[in-house]
């Protein structure tokens, strides 16, 4: 690998990183710690796809307080690791959902909230609605229209358990891959209309 002009050259980063990872994970058993940390630090990104956002907002209100699980709704996708599809995803929004998902750093998780996010719900035959599971991979589904805040809390709890049970985060750190899931590519290019 030759040093490119104008770039900082700090040695073979890949090899160094892999070695450091092997030492950390192999000898120190950090995998479980990462799973634990990720499960108690699920920060949902602020993407309000539809009207379930009112119940999502209530989940983080004082009565149900989603922050007790360590979840803090965060503004910028780069610093989050959870996306909650809050209801219907329209064709126009699907592009935004996909872009947001791709902007988030791994290991990342997704919750589909509400009937619209599962099978269209009331809008099952609407011409402007797409199923979110065709756009991004979903970990937990919440039925209801809109689901109660407790359901969202239940979904977060179940996701925490799933992460710890299946070592989703630790596996990612070790292998760079979510073991249970191929990356979902949308059937059609959801942003084609926008690119023109």
């Amino acid at each position: 690998m030759a040093a490119e002009e104008g770039k900082v050259y700090v040695g073979n980063v890949d090899v160094a990183a892999r070695r450091a990872r092997d030492i950390l994970l192999g000898k120190l058993k950090l995998e479980d710690a990462v799973d634990w940390a990720t499960s108690f630090s699920l920060w949902p990104v602020h993407l309000t796809t539809s009207c379930c956002s009112t119940e999502f907002a209530a989940t983080f209100g004082p009565r149900f307080d989603g922050e007790q699980f360590g979840s803090l709704p965060w503004v910028s996708p780069r610093q989050t690791n959870l996306i909650v599809i809050e209801g219907t995803v329209t064709r126009k929004m699907a592009c935004a959902v996909r872009i947001t998902w791709e902007q988030m750093p791994s290991p990342k998780f997704a919750i589909a909230m509400g009937a619209c996010a599962l099978d269209g719900g009331l809008f099952y035959n609407s011409y402007n609605v797409v199923r979110p599971w065709e756009v991004i991979p979903i970990d937990i589904y919440i039925p209801g229209c809109p689901p109660r805040p407790e359901s969202v809390a239940r979904a977060i709890v179940e996701l925490q358990r799933k992460i710890r049970r299946k070592h989703l985060a630790g596996e990612w750190v070790r292998t760079g891959w979510r073991p249970d899931r191929e990356p979902v590519k949308p059937k059609e290019d959801v942003c084609s209309w926008w690119r023109g």
Binding site: S50, S53, G61, V75, M93, A96, P146
Partner: protein, 414 residues
């Protein structure tokens, strides 16, 4: 009035609809796409062009939550659109569906019984308070005031609890049906409402101290996003936003429906037209809604046991239906509701939601489905305000104006 208003490097034309820069706008304006994944946008995108820190052009790019309500309303019979249209503004569910139900009732020539009307008003006002509190919550977080968000969300739960007690669902009540309502209140309910009102009155005092009189918030809102009376009429802005600019336009006043003309309450109007005035309209409306609620529960207590559904439905009730109505206070639907036919005709249903006037234009050709349902929601009419109110303000005023307009994209996009 426009004397107080400062615009940064720009002034407005006579009507105040166009911003004329006082100096030449730099050619290399900075274009910012705010949304849809953006904390300050909700489910929409605002494309703004800034010259320095001043917005010179703003264009709302809406339609991210367009769920084809008008089309689906044409194929789903007459009763299924009630839950459908509810999804436009689920935290204001009764207000947004009632005009549709009323339009259908008008076409069918039936009228809900008196008690059903009071029950509808009861839920409408509970919804209005909850929706205003939701607006406050979003407004608070837009201004960085997280405590306001939490408080309003928490106090909204009180009203949601009341609505849930009445209808069995937190938000999506699907409560009014053509000819009446689906459930009646139980005996302890009026006391619950009264307790909630007493609580809320105390809390509004705390709101004032922490939020409305807070110098930080006040300086963010005063003189920001001014919409003049003329502009309101020209742009067709409705609801608290119009009443914050001195236009006393409220459907409950202009074209009273249900029992609003028998109730004693005020329509608060402020003349200033800035973000602070719009906020205060909502505070005053919460107070007035509580006045209405007090009168409504008093009436309901006095008139126990009156029918809650129209005779044309209740006369077809069998023994099971009657038992349910008696014991669970639940007015059951009839199988004929699913395949209802409505006489041909055209009607406009209108009502005042928390955000303003909603209009349903319902056309029937006498068939199983509505021939055409045209919906104009308050947010859809207010969306145009972004285009004309934002230019001339700083980028940091955007959330203040957005929040004060209390714009809800799912409602706007339909």
């Amino acid at each position: 009035m426009s004397g107080d208003i400062r615009f940064y490097g720009a002034f407005k034309d006579e009507l105040g609809l166009k911003t004329i820069p006082s100096r030449r706008i730099a050619k290399d304006t900075y274009e910012i796409f705010i949304g849809p994944q953006h904390p300050g946008s909700g489910h929409m995108r605002i494309i703004i062009k800034v010259d320095g820190d001043v917005i010179v052009e703003a264009e709302p790019d809406i339609g991210y939550v367009h769920r084809t309500m008008e089309k689906l309303g044409e194929i789903r019979g007459w009763i299924k659109p009630i839950p459908l249209f509810e999804r436009m503004a689920i935290h204001d569910a009764c207000n947004i569906t009632l005009p549709y139900v009323r339009a259908v009732e008008k076409l069918m020539g039936v009228e809900a019984p008196e008690r059903a009307k009071y029950l509808r008003v009861l839920l409408c006002e509970i919804n209005r308070i909850a929706a205003h509190l939701y607006g406050f919550a979003i407004f608070g977080i837009f201004l960085g005031h997280s405590t306001m968000y939490m408080w309003a969300m928490g106090d909204r739960e009180v009203w949601i609890e009341l609505a849930q007690e009445l209808t069995g669902a937190r938000l999506t009540h699907s409560y009014p049906v053509p000819g009446g309502v689906r459930r009646d209140i139980h005996d302890e309910y009026p006391d619950m409402v009264r307790r909630a009102i007493r609580y809320m009155r105390k809390r509004l005092e705390d709101y004032r101290k922490l939020f409305l009189d807070n110098p930080v918030i006040k300086s963010r809102l005063e003189g920001v996003g001014v919409i003049s009376k003329k502009q309101v009429v020209e742009l067709g802005i409705v609801g608290p936003n119009a009443r914050g600019s001195g236009v006393a336009y409220d459907v409950r006043l202009a074209d009273p429906y249900e029992v609003y003309d028998q109730l004693d309450f005020e329509i608060p109007v402020f003349e200033e037209g800035d973000a602070l005035a719009r906020t205060y309209v909502r505070v005053e409306e919460i107070k007035q809604s509580m006045n209405i609620l007090e009168q409504v529960v008093d009436w309901l207590e006095k008139h126990k046991g009156e029918p809650i559904i129209h005779e044309s439905v209740s006369s077809k009730y069998g023994p099971v239906h009657k038992k349910v109505l008696q014991e669970q206070r639940r007015a059951k639907l009839l199988p004929l509701h699913a395949t209802m036919k409505v006489p041909a005709g055209r009607a406009i249903g209108r009502g005042e939601t928390a955000r303003g006037e909603v209009i349903y234009y319902v056309e029937s050709d006498g068939g199983l489905n509505p021939y055409r349902v045209r919906i104009v929601t308050p947010s859809a009419r207010n969306a145009i305000a972004f285009k004309y109110a934002l230019p001339g303000h700083k980028v940091m005023d955007l959330p203040a104006i957005y929040g004060s307009l209390d714009y809800f994209p799912p409602e706007s996009d339909r």
